[in-house]
């Protein structure tokens, strides 16, 4: 079984523009009080759409080991 993938946000670089929330097919990412994007790992399927859309390049897709 392949390891579960999930997205993670570098909060210090996030501009909280919300582009990631628009492209997420699972609604697994939200903008936390207008400050930065936060991923709900349980809902995240690690598809990487948010990482590709993020104009600040502050989202990465990781795997659980």
């Amino acid at each position: 079984m392949s390891p579960k993938k999930y997205a993670s946000v570098d909060r210090s670089r996030c501009a909280s523009c919300g582009e990631c929330t628009r492209v997420c097919p699972k609604g697994a990412i939200n903008v936390f009080y207008g400050c930065f994007a936060a991923v709900n790992i349980e809902n995240c399927i690690g598809c990487g759409k948010c990482a590709r859309a993020c104009p600040a390049g502050c989202i990465k897709v990781n795997s659980f080991r």
């Binding site: 670089r13 501009a15 523009c17 919300g18 207008g34 859309a53 993020c54 104009p55 600040a56 390049g57």
Partner: protein
């Protein structure tokens, strides 16, 4: 497919705004909505709902950028999306905004005459006199319109350039309004942020 809401069509507002200003510069004042609403939402609701849902300009970049995918979807250089650049650009933009207010004050106090032109990129003066009939309103109201429209058009053009060069909403990373409202939100929720 996600269902659409009324605010998903606000990109039309962005086009309408710039079109109106091409025919009558006094419509530039409508841009103050885009200036005050994000701040009001950030101060009272403590979020960036304007940027995330209501920003017509951002939506327009998404739409155009999506349609022009053949330009590529390159990541902007790191310096362009760095904190230093974002806050530096905000400071520069606010300074230019204050300068525009000062120019309006000079016209209001009759220290200088109305300049029926817009300034693009804070440098190039573009004649825009067909959009205004002298004497329609007090000169300072018209002066503010020319100044504000120039500021709005300049930021739109910068946004379009980075949209073509990089990802569609690259402008949103260093948009002065976005940086300002994010700072307000961070200040407002600093106790929550420390817990997170």
């Amino acid at each position: 497919m996600k269902s659409k809401y009324w605010y998903d069509y606000l990109w039309i507002w962005s086009i309408v705004y710039f079109s109106l200003g091409f025919f009558n510069i006094l419509f530039a004042w409508l841009g103050m909505i885009d200036f005050f609403v994000p701040i009001i939402i950030a101060v009272f609701a403590g979020n960036k709902w304007f940027c995330n849902r209501l920003c017509g300009r951002g939506q327009l970049f998404s739409k155009l950028g999506g349609a022009l995918k053949f330009f590529g979807n390159r990541q902007a250089p790191r310096w362009l999306v760095s904190k230093w650049f974002r806050y530096g650009f905000l400071a520069f933009f606010l300074a230019m905004f204050l300068n525009m207010i000062f120019q309006t004050y000079l016209v209001a106090s009759k220290a200088r005459t109305l300049n029926e032109a817009i300034k693009l990129f804070w440098t190039f003066e573009v004649p825009w006199r067909w959009t205004y009939k002298a004497g329609t309103v007090p000169d300072w109201i018209a002066q503010f319109s020319f100044g504000f429209y120039g500021l709005m058009l300049t930021s739109m053009l910068i946004g379009l350039v980075v949209m073509v060069l990089y990802k569609p909403r690259t402008w949103c990373v260093f948009c002065p309004m976005g940086t300002m409202t994010q700072s307000i939100c961070k200040l407002k929720h600093r106790s929550n942020l420390n817990k997170k």
